[in-house]
């Protein structure tokens, strides 16, 4: 729908040009802004504590970032085809997008799944689905990121069993499980159980991987969704790092050794529009994490001090109007991620405000990264903006602001109590509302939406996902249920329930249930029987 009423034009000049509110950014920065900055203490060379300038001494000289395009839709076969295309086109890692029923631990035949199967990602309900998803892809030779949270442990168990059947060694598997439930309560709201038992699932994955899959990233502590929900860069930084602290604390409380499990914690940040602020955000994040790990938790292994992160360009910045503008937005955001030292990157496709990306749009998004990597010369020097009066000032401001927020959350008793009190949720909702107001009044410019508007509808073909995936997935699920041993399923689900009431690690019983072809919905329901469900009180 076209924008009918065009708000008053925004003031032009420095403010509009940087996209930043005037109170934040001055037109000139100089040596006085960096008074008190000590090179070795505050920045140091890349590869040296506190890693402000990067975790690798040689930056991208040793290895470029991983170009990891998030994708998934329809049935496992359809998504498998897209993965093979992406790998053939030079993509260097896989990233699985699951559909909403899978994300919520519901099978395709669940009444609550109606209309949602295969729509926002791929539908995976049981081991045979997972096998089809990775058909012809040797799991020992790729790195796979899986965006799954509430049922992360169950999906990971399926992945491990697929690897086992391929004859792969778990200790050689490499990839990432998002497994970040805290940001679900805070922002994306795809939770199943209450926070405390959910945190146990997370720490059980930490403990299991430390023993059995030491190269696997057990969690991707995510600011991405927090930002998409409306947070500012500062809130994204602060809440994400405080979530990270919460996970480490729960791990320590569960008796785990920080030097063993923390090196496998990774992070995931947004790459949004305000170019320099984003670069500063990544730099501040590395510095803050290094100090927290060394001083607050006493970690001695330097791998525990180094913050590694994936970045994704900002979905929320994409517009349905003039969708080709999105290619430019994404390129600028991706450049910020690279200048900030991202270890892996997803670039959004131009049509994602309209639907899931077409094959062509997804490929153009990957090409955007390849142009930055191979044509711009940007990766040649490490942290090329280090020492910039402006970028260093922003880095220090974000660091100070994040510390304030983290102190506030500490005072509330930690992130779980803060979430239960609705604190980060409220802060984010307020920021989202302020941003919308700024766009309404024209104080913040969105090209093609409130400035330079063109009423011509976009001539763009979009990917249309019909209901056929739902039918096929439901039929297939019925067949899986017919061909398995029902007593074996019951036995493993009972064992899972028993384990959940006690204290043992939940990964072994989940693996047994997966091997017996228990469905995702059945495993999640078994734990719901024990732990109940989380419900958020609606607030505006």
């Amino acid at each position: 729908m076209a924008v009918a009423s065009k708000p008053a034009p925004a003031a032009t000049g420095a403010k509009a040009a940087s996209g930043a509110p005037p109170e934040d950014v001055r037109p000139l920065y100089g040596p006085a802004d960096l008074a008190g900055l000590d090179y070795v203490h505050d920045l140091n060379d890349p590869g040296g504590f506190p890693y402000t300038r990067g975790i690798h001494a040689s930056g991208y000289g040793g290895k470029l970032w991983t170009m990891r395009q998030f994708s998934g839709f329809g049935t496992p076969e359809e998504t498998n085809r897209r993965y093979r295309e992406l790998l053939a086109a030079g993509g260097t890692g896989l990233s699985v997008a699951f559909d909403l029923p899978t994300l919520m631990g519901r099978d395709p035949d669940d009444p609550l799944s109606r209309g949602e199967v295969g729509k926002c990602g791929v539908s995976v309900a049981s081991l045979p689905d997972m096998e089809r998803l990775f058909d012809g892809i040797a799991l020992e030779n790729v790195t796979t990121s899986m965006t799954i949270n509430a049922p992360a442990a169950m999906i990971f168990a399926m992945y491990l069993v697929v690897a086992e059947r391929q004859g792969a060694d778990w200790s050689r598997l490499s990839g990432t499980l998002q497994n970040d439930i805290l940001k679900e309560y805070i922002a994306q709201k795809e939770y199943i159980y209450p926070p405390r038992p959910s945190m146990r699932l997370v720490t059980d994955v930490f403990a299991f991987c430390a023993e059995q899959a030491p190269r696997w990233n057990t969690i991707s502590v995510s600011g991405y969704h927090i930002r998409e929900a409306g947070a500012t860069a500062l809130q994204e930084l602060a809440f994400t790092l405080r979530d990270g602290i919460e996970y480490v604390q729960y791990g320590v409380d569960a008796g785990l050794d920080v030097d063993r499990f923390v090196p496998r914690i990774s992070f995931f940040f947004n790459a949004h529009n305000r170019f320099f602020e984003e670069i500063a955000k990544y730099r501040a994040a590395r510095k803050l994490w290094a100090h927290v790990m060394r001083e607050r938790f006493g970690a001695r292994d330097e791998r525990a001090w180094k913050l590694r992160f994936h970045a994704q360009t900002a979905g929320v910045s994409l517009t349905a109007q003039q969708p080709y503008n999105n290619v430019v937005r994404t390129a600028v955001q991706a450049l910020a991620a690279v200048l900030g030292g991202a270890n892996s990157l997803h670039t959004n496709a131009l049509d994602e405000a309209l639907g899931l990306p077409t094959r062509e749009a997804a490929l153009l998004a990957l090409r955007t990264q390849q142009v930055i990597a191979h044509e711009s010369g940007v990766p040649a020097a490490v942290d090329p903006l280090g020492g910039s009066f402006f970028v260093e000032t922003l880095t220090r401001e974000l660091e100070a602001g994040a510390c304030e927020y983290m102190d506030k959350i500490d005072a509330l008793g930690g992130m779980v109590p803060a979430i239960e009190a609705g604190y980060p949720q409220r802060e984010i909702a307020n920021s989202a509302y302020r941003t919308q107001q700024a766009i309404e009044t024209g104080e913040q410019t969105v090209v093609g939406v409130n400035q330079h508007v063109d009423e011509t509808p976009p001539a763009l073909e979009t990917l249309y996902i019909d209901e056929s995936a739902a039918e096929r997935q439901s039929e297939r699920l019925a067949r899986t249920k017919e061909t398995r041993d029902p007593r074996g399923v019951e036995r493993t689900l009972d064992a899972l329930r028993r384990n959940a009431t006690g204290e043992g690690n939940l990964m072994p019983p989940l693996l047994e249930a997966v091997r017996a072809h228990a469905t995702l919905g059945e495993m999640c329901a078994a734990l719901r029987d024990v732990w109940g469900e989380y419900e958020e009180a609606p607030s505006v």
Binding site: A4, S5, C120, E536
Partner: protein, 139 residues
């Protein structure tokens, strides 16, 4: 004078509630009475809430592609309960191809990403049942 009453709801499994919340606040700021149902409401629950609250309008936010299931069910329930005069609007990621069908089943307003809040406020104000509209000089 009675204010326009709007139920804002988020059907389906999706939890991305930024849009629903921002719209709820914007409608409230525009002087409407807003009831936000929260997440994961079935069509039955949404229609029930609208009837109980004597709502003049229902606004649903759907980003997941579930609109083709949720909307027809909601409209059928409203018709069943004799509440066809409740204005229904939908916002979110709605492909162009689906809009004619949504209009056919009686959903008058379909708002895609980038729509201004003022557009939605104006639309609701001018399309709710006649007795719920504010007098012309007050709008």
């Amino acid at each position: 004078m009675r204010r326009i009453r709007v139920v804002i709801a988020k059907p389906g499994l999706d939890g991305h509630d930024r849009g629903a919340k921002v719209i709820a606040r914007s409608l409230r700021d525009a002087g409407m009475e807003v009831i936000y149902t929260g997440l994961r409401q079935t069509p039955e629950q949404i229609v029930e809430a609208a009837l109980q609250e004597d709502a003049d309008a229902i606004g649903v936010s759907i980003l997941s592609g579930a609109h083709n299931h949720v909307c027809p069910r909601m409209m059928a329930l409203l018709a069943e309960k004799g509440a066809r005069d409740v204005l229904v609007v939908v916002g979110g990621i709605i492909p162009d191809a689906d809009i004619p069908r949504l209009r056919e089943i009686g959903i008058e307003g379909v708002f895609q990403p980038g729509t201004s809040m003022q557009t939605i406020v104006d639309f609701i104000t001018t399309h709710v049942r006649a007795d719920a509209r504010p007098p012309a000089d007050a709008s």
